[in-house]
């Protein structure tokens, strides 16, 4: 029997996992270099204020202090991808508790921390707005009074603290509400969620005598960080080298800069290497969260369940700076219809400044919020229509050839198959579970889900070594999702080599080809495509040389598994090693392949949708799925436990099934935390729970004991490597609504606000 695949579809162990399990893998904070100083950052103690003066006298007396920086020591620049409203260290004003005001480098961590505490900042307190209600109130104080002078990538109108508004309209909902048989309407609220990657952010900046600086840091992109340091500190990119250590999880939280520019500024000021590693509480107070949102939504359907119209308005609490909010908002809006057809839809969205830490990208990127509203409404509709919730979703599910909201065509889509697979499992397995304990009520809930995989540019280089093995390079940082294994698998398969034959280089801006970011569930799909195309280019060259050597036509050749080219039907063959040796030494030079591209799929279609102020004009390919949960609710306390989860995913093709399963299970549990436990809470602008003591994420006992993952490979993506699409984010998207729907099923209480803490569930039950 001929083996069909050499590497793809195999659950190869993660290539870096031995190193990690053995304790040898190095994360940013694990690096120390001779002469290294330790950095500390003074964060603002107040939510809003004017800096009248900064007194460094006392701080400078701490033994071991080498450099202290404030905004006055840095170039006067404002930066940002959409609105240039951010500075490295606060300049004149502070806008949230924790915002970096000054930075110290010292011989020891203790000295740096002590000196930072001794910096005396004289503030004039200014009024602050710390919630959507406060920020949107009439005459609310402005978080950025000077916002009209900021440089913006798009001339979107502002209105008070609303700094970005967008809208989309398809069909005419206003004209059809009267024709709906049932209508549901509600307002939903979702919390700020902390990424809680296990590794706090850290950066080590090492200057050299020639003026270059090397930065090793926790980040989801070496190239983005390089660009951002260049932008903030006015250093040419040629003088900044970013290298990727191992990264202890990101989930979007390491998508932007954290402490890199500050570490670089301190290193340049002191002429010494500087390492800054944030404490857990600083990481929570200073960096980013998922956007807290409020979503008003209304949906109408016919008696038979056909969706007729939807109207939604979304408010995203963006915190004190724009960061990626326009993109997160835009994407959340585009997910407001979900994976269903509905001909009349109007969505309006607003991003709002508040005096809190920035909200930014977080697994799902605005979609979990929109989907919580959307899938809660479908459940309410199913109840009103007395219809099976899966049947209602099946009836409206998108199919290949349908259009996403905005008009982009969807080419591969296994939404219906995901619903079918879920339906079948629930029918077989729910009744087989041991019954709920006494005093607890059981409920089943489902949610459909969808996401994208795509966006932006990437590239890959590949070359054949002298012994016929292969060296692969990309600029993709593995943040724990598994690209260090999956990308070599794609390369290996394309050459029909075993995975061990592929050496994969660590990422370094000096030598790696460009990649945008590890984000948008894009790596397997986009970087995988680049790897595959680069490898195909190299394979063509291998075959051409083999044809020369075997004196036959290239068309008569085939690849055997294991690095041999043979003449079809004959016993004449030549090995990669022989081909490589000839190329190295005599003919044509080393055999290489390269490929670069930017996501080039269909764009939004202005003939189908009227859109204004969107942050991008296409997205990627679409992935679909369905999730079901069984919960038990203690009707006395309101405590809710998720017993079991089934998660079905339209993956196109699983390059490494074990890795995909792990991603799905991890995302599901992050979703359980979002649904039941996790909420950043602010009081007077101060985060009240910046530690794992007060901000609980699921541990092994909170997580469901069983999570069944169903990988649906019935709709391979024609443009994806071996048919693959991305999976990083999709599995979190439907978890919260599925749990809310299950709580309703168990108790009759429809919770429109997450997390569904015991108290909120109990209140829901008591107010029935």
């Amino acid at each position: 029997m001929t083996q069909e695949f050499s590497a793809v579809g195999l659950s190869s162990a993660r290539r870096d996992s031995s190193e990690k399990a053995g304790g040898a893998a190095k994360f940013a904070d694990d690096y120390s270099v001779p002469g290294m100083l330790y950095g500390a950052i003074l964060g603002s103690p107040i939510a809003s204020g004017r800096i009248k003066s900064i007194d460094l006298t006392e701080a400078k007396t701490v033994p071991g202090v080498v450099s202290i920086l404030t905004a006055d020591d840095l170039p006067d620049r404002r930066v940002g991808s959409f609105i240039k409203d951010e500075v490295t260290l606060a300049r004149g004003y502070v806008r949230f508790v924790g915002e970096p005001v000054a930075a110290v480098a010292a011989e020891t961590k203790e000295a740096a921390d002590l000196a930072a505490q001794l910096i005396i900042v004289d503030f004039e307190d200014l009024p602050s707005v710390c919630s959507l209600d406060e920020a949107l109130a009439e005459d609310a104080p402005l978080v950025h009074p000077g916002q009209d002078d900021y440089v913006r990538t798009s001339e979107t109108p502002t209105n008070g603290n609303i700094f970005w508004s967008a809208s989309i309209l398809e069909g005419n909902p206003d004209a059809v509400w009267d024709s709906c048989d049932v209508i549901v309407e509600d307002t939903y609220e979702t919390p700020g969620q902390y990424h809680a990657y296990m590794e706090p952010c850290s950066a080590l900046a090492e200057p050299d005598l020639a003026g270059r600086i090397t930065v090793r840091s926790t980040a989801q992109s070496i190239f983005y960080i390089q660009g951002r340091i260049s932008d903030e500190l006015d250093i040419p990119m040629s003088n900044i080298r970013c290298v990727a250590p191992k990264i202890g999880g990101g989930f979007g939280g390491k998508n932007g800069v954290s402490v890199q520019p500050i570490a670089v500024a301190l290193a340049r000021a002191s002429g010494r290497p500087v390492k800054i590693t944030l404490s857990r509480s600083q990481d929570m107070e200073m960096l980013r969260s998922r956007h807290p949102t409020r979503i008003r939504m209304r949906t109408g359907a016919k008696k038979d369940g056909t969706l007729v119209a939807r109207e939604a308005e979304l408010w995203f609490d963006a915190g004190a700076y724009t960061d990626e909010s326009p993109a997160v908002l835009s994407f959340g809006m585009l997910c407001s219809r979900g994976p269903y057809n509905c001909p009349n839809i109007s969505v309006k969205g607003h991003a709002v400044y508040t005096n809190k830490l920035k909200a930014g990208s977080f697994r799902g990127f605005g979609n979990p919020q929109a989907t919580f509203a959307s899938e809660s409404q479908l459940d309410a509709l199913a109840v009103k229509l007395n219809m099976d919730p899966i049947e209602l979703r099946r009836k409206n599910a998108m199919k290949a050839g349908d259009h996403w909201l905005g008009g982009q065509t969807v080419d591969s889509c296994a939404m219906t198959q995901c619903l079918d697979a879920l339906d079948e499992r629930l029918k077989e397995e729910v009744s087989a579970l041991p019954p709920a304990e006494e005093g607890w009520q059981r409920g089943v809930g489902v949610s459909g889900l969808s996401h994208i995989s795509g966006l932006m540019g990437t590239s890959a280089f590949v070359n054949l070594r002298a012994d016929g093995t292969v060296a692969l390079q990309t600029g993709v940082v593995d943040i724990g999702q598994g690209s260090d294994t999956v990308l070599p698998q794609i390369c290996a398969e394309t050459l029909r080599l075993p995975l061990e034959s592929i050496a994969y280089a660590a990422q370094d801006t000096d030598s790696s080809p460009y990649n945008w970011k590890t984000a948008a569930s894009r790596i397997t799909y986009t970087a995988g495509r680049a790897v595959m195309q680069a490898t195909v280019e190299m394979r063509e060259r291998i075959l051409r040389d083999a044809a020369d050597m075997l004196e036959c036509s290239k068309d008569d050749l085939e690849l055997d598994i294991g690095g041999t080219v043979r003449v079809v039907g004959a016993d004449r063959k030549v090995s990669f090693r022989e081909i490589a040796a000839r190329a190295f030494n005599r003919v044509g030079g080393p055999i290489v392949g390269q490929h670069a591209f930017a996501f080039d799929g269909p764009r939004f279609d202005p003939k189908r949708a009227a859109m204004s102020n969107f942050a991008f004009d296409n997205l990627g390919v679409y992935v679909f799925g369905a999730v079901g949960v069984v919960v038990d609710v203690d009707t006395v306390t309101g405590k809710t436990i998720v017993q079991k989860v089934w998660s079905a995913h339209d993956i196109g093709r699983a390059i490494n099934p074990q890795s995909v399963e792990g991603q799905v299970q991890g995302a599901v549990v992050q979703g359980v935390g979002y649904a039941l436990l996790e909420e950043l809470v602010w009081e007077n602008g101060r985060l009240t729970n910046p530690s794992f003591m007060d901000y609980k994420i699921p541990d092994g006992m909170d997580a469901p004991s069983e999570i069944t993952v169903m990988l649906i490979e019935e709709a391979p993506e024609a443009t994806g490597p071996f048919g693959a699409k991305g999976i990083g984010e999709a599995p979190i998207v439907g978890v919260a609504p599925a749990i809310a729907n299950a709580v309703f099923n168990a108790t009759g209480a429809r919770l429109t606000r997450i997390p569904m803490t015991s108290e909120r569930v109990l209140n829901g039950i008591l107010s029935l």
Binding site: A13, K20, G22, G480, I697, G700
Partner: protein
């Protein structure tokens, strides 16, 4: 550079005897990472809440971020690096690799220590016991399922 109030201690670290001076407030985690360059133990919170810094002290899993180094005088300390057997991953470590229980890997050292200790106490734990043993160990990547699988697989392997 030692200062006058530094405390001399002797401990067994990963099977070898060490003598070292430590500051009165220094944690075992700092001593391991900064003093001995054993960076396998991770600092996820420094507050005893995440489990990433867990090491074995006299055979018991302990949070090294909450342990004052000076209290380890005369004790036996094993870190994740010390779980290796003849330079190879132990059965438990290898099971974490093979079961897909390692994603970003930041929690892995603490998890490996906790599960090694569990299997010594109870060579055939059921899934609930394994989850209980993991209860002080936060993992944000895996959803815990494959980590529990790994402990089961290691128990099976050790028992066979």
């Amino acid at each position: 550079m030692t200062e006058s109030n530094d405390i001399p201690i002797r401990l067994t670290l990963n099977k070898s005897l060490k003598s070292v001076f430590c500051k009165p407030t220094e944690t075992l985690l700092s001593l391991l990472r900064d003093g001995f360059g054993l960076t396998g133990s991770k600092r996820g919170c420094n507050q005893g809440l995440c489990g990433a810094c867990t090491v074995l002290i006299d055979g018991k899993p302990m949070r090294s971020c909450l342990t004052i180094a000076a209290t380890c005088n005369g004790r036996d300390v094993v870190t994740v690096e010390g779980l290796l057997e003849n330079g190879k991953l132990s059965t438990m470590q290898q099971a974490l690799v093979d079961s897909g229980g390692v994603q970003c890997g930041f929690c892995t050292p603490g998890v490996a220590i906790a599960l090694t200790s569990l299997l010594r106490e109870d060579p055939k734990p059921d899934r609930t016991k394994i989850r209980e043993a993991l209860s002080g160990h936060l993992c944000r990547c895996s959803g815990y399922i494959k980590i529990v699988d790994a402990a089961e697989a290691a128990a099976e392997k050790a028992g066979s």
